[in-house]
Amino acid sequence: MSTQPAAVIGIGQTKHKKKRDDVSLPGLVREAAQRALDDAELNWTDIDAVVLGKAPDPFEGVMMPELSMADALGANGKPIMRVHTAGSVGGSTALVATHLVQTGVHDRVLTVAYEKQAEGNAQWGLAGGRSGGMGAGGIFAPWMRTYIRRSGAPEDIGWKVAVKDRQNACKNPYAHLHLPDISIEKVKESPMLWDPIHFLESCPSSDGAVAMVLTNEAGAKKAPRKPAWVLGTAMRSELGTFPGRDTVRPRAGVECAHMVYDAAGIKNPREQIDVAELYVPFSWYEPMWLEGHDIAGPGEGWRMVESGETEITGNFPVNASGGVLSSNPIGASGMLRFAEAALQVRGEAGEHQVADAHVGLAQAYGGSAQYFAMWVVGSTLDAVDKKK
C-alpha cells in the first residue's frame, strides 16, 4: 500500500428546503462550498481539485453541470470531475475525493454534492422518461414487505423510525423537515403511499448541497478545528435484477460493509461504532440496513429500533441528523451522511451531537439497492484501536 491518511477538515451544508428559490444552482453549491472552506479556514486558491457529485442530470434539466458550475466552484484552471452512481453518488463522490488525497495526487480537495429538485421534476426523473417506472417507493415497498414477513417485525417499527428521525431533525438547523409535533399516531394515520410506506415514512424532495474539504496528514495538523480521519472506504455494486438476488439483504451491501470494517480494523461493528448515518429514505430501511450490514444479526435490526438503541441517546445512534427522511436533496443525500458522520467524530454536530462519538460509519446506497458506498471516520487515527 502506498497510501497516506486523509482527513476531513471542513464541512459545509445549505439549509435544505422544498424550494431554494433564493439561490441559483451555482449559488446553491457555492453556499455549501464556501461554508466548508470557512470551516477549514482556507481560500478558494488553496484547493487543488474539485470532485462534484449529483444524481441524474434531468432532475434539473442541466447536462454535465460541472461545465457551467466550474466558475462557482472555483475550478477554473483546475481539475474537476463529476461522479454519478445513482443514490449512492454522494458517498462515491466523497470517496473519489478521499482517494485523490490518500494517493498523494492532490493535497487539498473540495468535494461537493447537490440536488436542486425544485428546478425540475424528480418524480419524472425517477419514474417517467422512457423508463415508465414506478418510482423509488414502488421499487422498494415489496422488499420492505419481504423484510417484515421474514423478520416478524411488528408494523410500528417503521413508524418509530419515522418519529425518531423527525425528532432528531428538529435539533439540526439545516434539516428540511422540522416536525416537532410528529407522533406515532400521525405517521400511522398519514396516507398510505406504497404499502407498507405511509406518507410520513418517506423522504421529502429537497433542494440542498453539502461540501467537504479533505486533506493529508500535514494539512490536517494545520487545520484550525479537529479533523475527522478517514479510517476506511469501500464501494460495491451488483446487478439490479436476476433470479435469486436477495433484495432484502443485497450481497453488495454485506460485502461493502465488511470491506469498510476490515479497512478500519473493526471486528465488532455494533460495539466499536459510536454513531451511524445510514441512507434511510423510507423508514423500514433502518432495520434492514442494520441487518444488511451485519451490525445486527438476522431479525435483530428491528429489535434495536424497538428498544430505542438507535435513538440519539441509545447505544447505537442512527441518523442523529434526521437523515434522508428529513432532508433529501438526492445527489447530496449520500454525502450528507458522510459529512454528518464526520461532524459527529469532530464533536461539531451541535444540538444533535452524540456524546463520546469517536468512530462513525456512513453509508449510501443507490439504484435498485445495488450500489453501496461507505466510509468509517474517527476522531483520531487510532480511534478504533482504543475500543478493543
Binding site: 500500500m1 502506498s2 497510501t3 441559483s24 444552482l25 441524474p56 442530470d57 434531468p58 432532475f59 434539473e60 434539466g61 442541466v62 447536462m63 454535465m64 460541472e66 461545465l67 457551467s68 458550475m69 466550474a70 466558475d71 477554473n76 484552471g77 483546475k78 481539475p79 474537476i80 470531475m81 463529476r82 461522479v83 454519478h84 452512481t85 445513482a86 462515491s92 470517496l95 473519489v96 482517494h99 485523490l100 494517493t103 498523494g104 495526487v105 426523473g125 422518461g129 422512457r130 423508463s131 469501500a234 464501494m235 460495491r236 455494486s237 451488483e238 446487478l239 439490479g240 436476476f242 443485497p250 450481497r251 453488495a252 460485502e255 461493502c256 439504484g367 435498485s368 445495488q370 450500489y371
Partner: protein, 351 residues
C-alpha cells in the same frame, strides 16, 4: 510521485450512425474483448469505472443497465463518471495508485442516435443565460473557428487538409464511420453548414463504445509483452462563458499537457479529441506538438465520434500505436464541453 500504470488491453465497437442494439448489448463484446486481450480473468479485476451520459439515452439512471455488460455478480468495486470514459480512466488510475488492487476495467459508451444533438447539447450550457439561447455545438464551434480565422491562426484550407487526412487515415480503421479520399480542393467547394464550417469540419453523429484494461507495474509486466505505460495524466477546466474566454486559446489543454509531461520528450504520435477540424491545430499548438508528430492516425473524432467513448478511444488508439505499431511515445487527449472547455491529457510510452 505517482506510480506508473499501464494499458494492457483495449477494444472498441465500430462507430455507427445508428446502432440497432442497446448500450449494454454493444458494450458486452467490447468489454469482453478488452479483458481477453489483457489476459486477465473477469473476476480478477479489482476496480471498474464507466463513463456515460444519461441525457443521450433520454432516460435517468441509464448507466445502471450497463452493469449488465460487466457482469457485476458476484458484486464488484465499481464507480461511474457522468463524463467521457477518459475521466473514468483517470478515476481508475487514481484507484490503482493505492496499490491494494492490480487491475482495473474502464469503459465509455454513448448512443447519440436516439436524440438530436442540436437540442440536447445546449443543456450543457449555463441554464439561466445560455441554454435558452439554444446555442448548439456546431454554432459554438463555428464561433471558435471564426475567432481562429480572424486571428490568422488557421485557414479554411488547413481545416480541409485536416479533414482530408483524417478521412484517408480512417480508411484503414475498422471502427471508423467516415472515410474518404477527396482532396482539400474538392471539400472546399462544398457549401457551409454553419459558416465557416463545412460538413467535413464537423464530426459524425455516432453510437459506440470503448473499453480499456489498466494494470499496476508488476501485473502489467506479467500480463503483457508490451505494456503501454501512462507516464503522466492531468485534466483541467476553463471558464464556462464562451464570451469570457479567448476562444483562440485553450489554457486548460496547456496546463494539463505540461502537468502530464508532454514536453519532456519527443512525441511520435498524438490522438487528439479534435471533434471539429480546426481544433486539431489549436490543440497541437497548446500541447507544443511539432511538425514531426503524427496526429490522429486513426482518423480521430472526424472519422468516428462515439460520445462519452471518443476520449477513451484516443487512449485505445494511442496505445495501439505503441503496442502494435512500434511507436515509443504518444499523447492521448480528451475534451468535454463546448469549444474545448475541459481537457484531459496523458503521455503514454512503450518500454
Amino acid at each position: 510521485m505517482a506510480n506508473d500504470i499501464a494499458i494492457v488491453g483495449y477494444a472498441q465497437s465500430p462507430s455507427l450512425r445508428q446502432a440497432e442494439l442497446t448500450e449494454p448489448q454493444f458494450l458486452f463484446p467490447v468489454i469482453s474483448e478488452a479483458i481477453e486481450r489483457a489476459g486477465v480473468e473477469r473476476r480478477e479485476i479489482g476496480f471498474t469505472c464507466a463513463g456515460s451520459c444519461d441525457y443521450l439515452s433520454g432516460q435517468t439512471f441509464a448507466f445502471v443497465m450497463n452493469l449488465e455488460a460487466v457482469g457485476a455478480w458476484p458484486p464488484i468495486s465499481e464507480s461511474h463518471v457522468e463524463m467521457d470514459g477518459a475521466w473514468a480512466l483517470y478515476e481508475a488510475w487514481v484507484r490503482l495508485q493505492h496499490g491494494d488492487i492490480d487491475t482495473a476495467l474502464v469503459f465509455g459508451s454513448g448512443k447519440s442516435s436516439p436524440g438530436l444533438p442540436a437540442e440536447i447539447y445546449p443543456l450543457q450550457m449555463d441554464p439561466y443565460t445560455l441554454t435558452p439561447l439554444g446555442a448548439d455545438p456546431v454554432s459554438l464551434a463555428a464561433l471558435q473557428a471564426r475567432a481562429m480565422l480572424d486571428a490568422g491562426k488557421i485557414t479554411e484550407r488547413e481545416m480541409a487538409e485536416t479533414a482530408t487526412r483524417s478521412r484517408k487515415n480512417a480508411i484503414g480503421n475498422p471502427y471508423a464511420q467516415v472515410t474518404g479520399d477527396d482532396d482539400p480542393e474538392t471539400l472546399l467547394k462544398e457549401p457551409y453548414v454553419t459558416a465557416p464550417l463545412r460538413r467535413h469540419d464537423l464530426p459524425p453523429i455516432s453510437d459506440g463504445a470503448c473499453a480499456v484494461v489498466l494494470a499496476t507495474a508488476d501485473k502489467a509486466k506479467a500480463l503483457s509483452k508490451r505494456p503501454v505505460w501512462i507516464r503522466g495524466i492531468d485534466h483541467r477546466i476553463d471558464i464556462h462563458q464562451p464570451g469570457m474566454r479567448d476562444l483562440t486559446e485553450s489554457p486548460s489543454t496547456r496546463i494539463a499537457g505540461k502537468n502530464a509531461g508532454v514536453g519532456k520528450g519527443k512525441v511520435d504520435v498524438a490522438e487528439l479529441s479534435a471533434t471539429f477540424s480546426y481544433q486539431e491545430k489549436l490543440l497541437s499548438q497548446e500541447l507544443g506538438l511539432g511538425d514531426g508528430v503524427e496526429i490522429n492516425p486513426s482518423g480521430g473524432p472526424l472519422a468516428a465520434n462515439p460520445v462519452m467513448a471518443v476520449g477513451l478511444a484516443r487512449f485505445a488508439e494511442a496505445a495501439r500505436q505503441i503496442a502494435e505499431r512500434g511507436k515509443k511515445r504518444a499523447v492521448a487527449h480528451a475534451t468535454s464541453g463546448q469549444c474545448l472547455q475541459q481537457n484531459l491529457v496523458a503521455v503514454l510510452e512503450g518500454d
